[in-house]
């Protein structure tokens, strides 16, 4: 019997995690439509008073699974071993980003849960937690941007007859990085496309992350068997 190396199992955790992410997204009452940075402290406080339970459930789910992408990113890192690189530095960059990026999700979920923990507190304090949560989630893109760029560079430098990932995946990752950039500027605007509830900072950013997960999982699924065969050949 062929030994199980477990990579397929890791890959199949992704749809499960994705379902939970989507569930948390729709369950959280402040995403559809996204809460406005223009709301007054009283409006924010009454939002948490009225939606306490849903904020808690959704953010507990998000807190559980926001780090679930790390094993998937490690699958990407393992595929990078097969690239025609001279050094492991780009893999190290990916590992560094994979460690740092989910902390933004994690911290944001903690602020949301804190906001909902004592909804009867002074409205200004609830607004403060709410601001911190939204800023952390929206602006916390540095490692997502960097991760996409490192992967793009790695694919670009993988010059061999059958590269691990095809060139369009590099271009796709650059596009995702570009789509995430406006969210970093969400602090500058209370209105319009850059605000944290705006078209670029909310819809484009989150769609880009969702699209990245979908595309990369398909691409990874295709890259796995070939490597499994290679591992067998070397065994």
């Amino acid at each position: 019997m062929r030994p199980v190396n477990g990579e397929r199992i890791i890959l199949w955790t992704l749809p499960a995690a994705a379902v939970l992410w989507v569930a948390a997204f729709f369950l959280f009452p402040g995403f559809l439509p996204p809460m406005s940075p223009r709301s007054s402290a009283d409006e924010v406080a009454s939002f948490y008073r009225e939606n306490t339970a849903r904020v808690r459930y959704s953010m507990i789910v998000f807190n559980w699974f926001c780090v679930a992408l790390i094993p998937i990113l490690m699958l990407v890192v393992e595929r990078m071993r097969g690239m025609a690189h001279r050094t492991p530095v780009l893999r190290y960059c990916m590992i560094g980003c994979a460690g740092a990026a989910p902390i933004a999700f994690l911290t944001a979920s903690v602020f949301w849960l804190l906001a909902a923990f004592r909804p009867e507190r002074a409205p200004e304090l609830t607004q403060l937690y709410n601001d911190l949560a939204w800023i952390t989630l929206t602006c916390g893109v540095p490692f997502l941007v960097a991760q996409s760029l490192f992967l793009a560079v790695a694919i670009h430098l993988d010059r061999q007859e059958t590269p691990v990932f095809r060139t369009w995946i590099a271009h796709f990752n650059v596009a995702v990085a570009v789509a995430l950039v406006p969210a970093g500027f969400a602090g500058l605007a209370h209105n319009g496309v850059f605000a944290w509830d705006g078209f670029l900072s909310f819809w484009v950013r989150n769609s880009a992350i969702a699209l990245w997960i979908i595309v990369m999982s398909v691409v990874l699924a295709r890259a796995l068997p070939r490597d499994g065969a290679a591992a067998e050949a070397t065994a």
Binding site: P37, M83, A84, H85, R86, T87, P88, V89, L90, Y92, C93, I95, G96, C97, G99, A100, I103, A104, T107, E124, L125, Q127, L128, D131, L132, I135, T136, C139, G140, V141, P142, F143, L144, V145, A146, Q147, L149, F150, V153, L157, R159, Q160, V181, A183, G184, F185, A186, G187, L188, H190
Partner: protein, 257 residues
């Protein structure tokens, strides 16, 4: 190692990292010293009534500068990756390299993400209750200056690796410079206690001396990393010496010819 296409510089990945490191530290300096003017930091002795004034006078610079860090801060991974690579090139266990990688990846979050979030939240709502603005102000500066352990242990790990290394990847004196950097993380600890004087987060010891040491340390290691890349022979034994400057120019000229 995989076969390598002819005519391609085998050090291209290392050089790419090195230039990204250079770009990152320049961005970092410009953002924190020029754009946001959070370095030198605001005073920890401001009363709650004074903090909104600080946010008002730094408003635009804070939001623009911190946004740049939100977008480009991930470049910091390049310096971590390159240093991890140099530790792997040493004769010491890979445990040192991986420790460094993880320690500094963790450090990114308290090291710059918290100050960015806290001061953005403060600058976004200048009308917020001054006591809450002060809360954000403290969170920003203390998370930035007071995140000590990762840098302390990280520097010590790098120091130990350098001092034990027989491949001469870094000069031994640089090992001791790591100790100086580690010491800055020790003497900054009283910033958690004092809000004025030499040990406060903007004080002579906790800020001025530390920032000078960190500046020298960073400048030195960026240069040394460059030398390591030049010296790298992709072997496992001692790293060759840096070729003399004249010879380097000579080889370059010969290559061009």
């Amino acid at each position: 190692m995989r076969p390598f296409a002819r005519g391609e510089n085998p050090k291209r990945e290392l050089w790419l990292m090195w230039f990204a490191v250079l770009a990152f530290y320049q961005l970092y300096t410009v953002v924190f010293f020029v754009l946001t003017r959070t370095q030198p930091p605001g005073s920890p002795s401001y009363t709650a009534a004074e903090v909104p004034g600080w946010f008002a006078s730094h408003h635009d610079g804070l939001l623009v500068g911190l946004a740049l860090i939100f977008v480009l801060g991930g470049l910091s991974a390049t310096s971590i990756a390159l240093i991890t690579y140099t530790i792997r090139r040493m004769s010491v266990s890979r445990a040192f390299a991986y420790s460094y990688l993880i320690l500094y990846s963790v450090s990114a979050v308290p090291g710059f993400l918290f100050i960015c979030v806290a001061l953005t939240a403060g600058a976004m709502r200048p009308e917020r209750d001054p006591r809450l603005q002060q809360w954000l102000y403290d969170l920003g500066f203390l998370s930035f200056s007071g995140t000590m352990g990762v840098f302390l242990v990280g520097s010590l790990v790098w120091m130990a690796a350098i001092l034990l290394d027989r491949n001469r990847v870094f000069p031994k004196w640089f090992g001791y410079l790591n100790l100086c950097n580690a010491v800055t993380e020790v003497v900054v600890a009283p910033a958690w206690i004092f809000d004025r004087g030499v040990f406060a987060w903007n004080g002579l010891i906790a800020w001025w001396i530390n920032v000078v040491v960190f500046g020298i340390y960073t400048g030195v290691f960026i240069n040394l990393l460059r030398n390591v890349i030049i010296r790298e022979d992709f072997g496992t034994g001692p790293l060759p010496d840096l070729p003399p400057r004249r010879a380097r120019r000579h080889t370059a000229a010969a290559e061009v010819a």
